[in-house]
């Protein structure tokens, strides 16, 4: 079992979700609004003529947990769908996952996904 965390551009979320669903990869996902910086530079906002540098850019973080054999496919779908080709498209992180438990039934491991 693996957990995938992907940081993507917010406006790409629909495409990514659609891609993952069409590929039959996921049956659940957690999304959060996050801010941060990487190689993409921040931008400047101007209020009443004064400039403010915005260093932390808004991104979405998606988290999905899936069985090992689906991981490569998920990576290729996310990579393909979240890509614009410009700096700031985001990153994907893969974690080994020890266990998962469905709270309602107490099922464990992949059965809980």
């Amino acid at each position: 079992m693996k957990k995938i965390e992907a940081i993507i551009k917010p406006f790409k979320i629909d495409e990514v979700l659609q891609g993952l669903s069409e590929a039959g990869i996921i049956c659940g996902m957690t999304v959060s609004e996050v801010r941060g910086f990487g190689r993409q530079k921040g931008f400047v906002e101007v209020y009443r003529g004064r400039e403010y540098e915005v260093r932390f850019l808004p991104k979405l973080k998606i988290e999905i947990v899936l069985s090992d054999e689906l991981v490569e496919k998920a990576i290729s779908v996310i990579t393909e769908r979240a890509k614009t080709g410009e700096v700031g498209d985001g990153k994907i992180f893969i974690f080994n996952l020890e266990d998962a438990i469905r709270i309602r039934t107490g099922q464990r491991g992949e059965e809980a996904l």
Binding site: V46, Y47, R48, G49, R50, Y52
Partner: protein
């Protein structure tokens, strides 16, 4: 320069000795049309403070200070409401004592009844006139808060409302509107450029300096939709402020109405374009700020100028305050948080002076400006602005010094960092999480 001062002093003296200010001899007689309009106008001006100004300022504040900012407008309105009926009205509009202040004979409005009519508004019930003037006093005090937010103790603000309204607003309102010496001099201030905006703007500057800089001097609005809503309500309520200052439902009210809208629109556009030019993008904050600056500048002029005058005053009001807040403020380094001085002080002064140029006797025979052959009017305006600025600076300094002794002005460092909503009120503006 010496000559100018001499001329001004001479004018002041000769003005004091006898020149009767448009005191027409109409007998007081209630008019239902005027009364109906003035009730509505009063309610419109009330709307400018809460929620208009409260939203405008509240949206500009940081999220953690937004409730405190809103509370300052709310409590200012409430405090002034009470003081006004106890002694405020009678000191500002009571029988004149040597041009300085009204005679405090009728505390708690004693002696005023449902049939009373004020000398200052001869066709409406005095009760309506009292509340109408109350709303002006309240917004003037509330306006000052814009320069002080994000660091001032709430208790200090409460003291400020009481002291400053009493010592600064009441005398100046009396001088200009209550038959005091500036009124007799022939100063033109249709709806309160001097009394409201210069007054508040100067107090704001003094307050910003006395309080010192915030630890984080940014102005990053936490909610611009609130700012736009507030600015819209200000614009809307300003029709009551300016057209209502005709004190009748008549053609002069109509002139003030159309001038108000025209100047607000011109200033919104001129600020937008100047910002587009200098900061690369037209912003909603700029458009809203411009509209407010235009409304401020047309306030003294609304019932005196023609439409060309209104357009020019509006254009100037969108440009000069922009440079003051965007260029001059950072250079001088005072921390006028929301530009109460930069917008109200500057645009108010511009409006008062430009009234002395553009006042057109065809609109209102009580005012003839320099462009219509009366250069004296401009000097009178200059004198009025000067007297107000000097008086209010000194009094405001005094008021802030007293408050510093009584309660201290600023919250401590931690309270400022946590935010004033939490530290002063124990509340949060947004409880979106459960």
């Amino acid at each position: 320069m010496k000559r100018l001062i001499l001329a001004l002093v001479f004018m002041a003296v000769s003005g004091l000795s006898g020149f009767a200010f448009a005191d027409n001899e109409i007998q007081p007689r209630l008019d239902t049309g005027d009364t109906a309009w003035m009730i509505v106008a009063t309610a419109l001006v009330m709307l400018m403070t809460i929620p208009g100004l409260a939203l405008f300022y509240g949206g500009l504040a940081k999220r953690k200070d937004s409730l405190n900012t809103i509370a300052m407008s709310f409590v200012a309105f409430s405090i002034v409401s009470i003081l006004w009926v106890i002694y405020g009205y009678i000191l500002a509009f009571g029988k004149d004592i040597s041009g300085i202040i009204g005679k405090p004979t009728k505390l708690f409005l004693s002696g005023i009844g449902i049939n009373s009519i004020s000398e200052a508004a001869k066709t409406i019930p005095e009760y309506i006139f009292i509340v109408y003037q109350l709303t002006f006093a309240a917004i003037t005090v509330a306006l000052v808060s814009g320069a002080l937010i994000e660091r001032m103790k709430f208790s200090a603000w409460v003291l400020f409302c009481i002291l400053w309204m009493t010592l600064a607003y009441l005398p100046v309102a009396h001088w200009v509107w209550g038959g005091g010496f500036l009124a007799r001099l022939g100063a033109l201030d249709f709806a309160g450029g001097t009394v409201v905006h210069i007054n508040a703007g100067i107090a704001a500057l003094i307050g910003a300096i006395m309080l010192g800089k915030r630890r984080d001097t940014s102005l990053i609005p936490h909610n611009l939709t609130m700012v736009a809503t507030g600015a819209g309500l200000l614009w809307f309520g300003w029709f009551g402020f300016n057209a209502g200052s005709a004190l009748s439902a008549n053609g002069l009210a109509g002139a003030a109405f159309i001038n108000t809208n025209t100047a607000a629109a011109s200033a919104a556009l001129s600020w937008m374009f100047i910002e587009w030019l200098y900061s690369k993008k037209p912003t909603i904050l700029g458009i809203a700020s411009g509209a407010v600056a235009g409304l401020v500048a047309i306030t003294p002029a609304a019932g005196f100028v023609n439409i060309i005058g209104a357009i020019i005053i509006g254009i100037v009001a969108g440009i000069v305050p922009y440079f003051v807040v965007a260029k001059l403020k950072p250079r001088l380094g005072y921390d006028d948080t929301l530009d109460a001085f930069g917008i109200h002080g500057i645009a108010g002064t511009l409006g008062a002076l430009l009234t002395g140029l553009f006042a057109d006797p065809a609109i209102n025979e009580a005012g003839r400006g320099l462009f219509y052959g009366n250069p004296n009017q401009f000097l009178i305006q200059l004198l009025t602005v000067g007297v107000t600025i000097v008086y209010v600076s000194i009094i405001s300094l005094f008021v802030f010094l007293i408050i510093r002794l009584l309660s201290g002005l600023r919250v401590d460092r931690n309270d400022e960092l946590i935010g004033l909503d939490e530290s002063q009120h124990g509340e949060k503006a947004y409880n979106l999480h459960i």
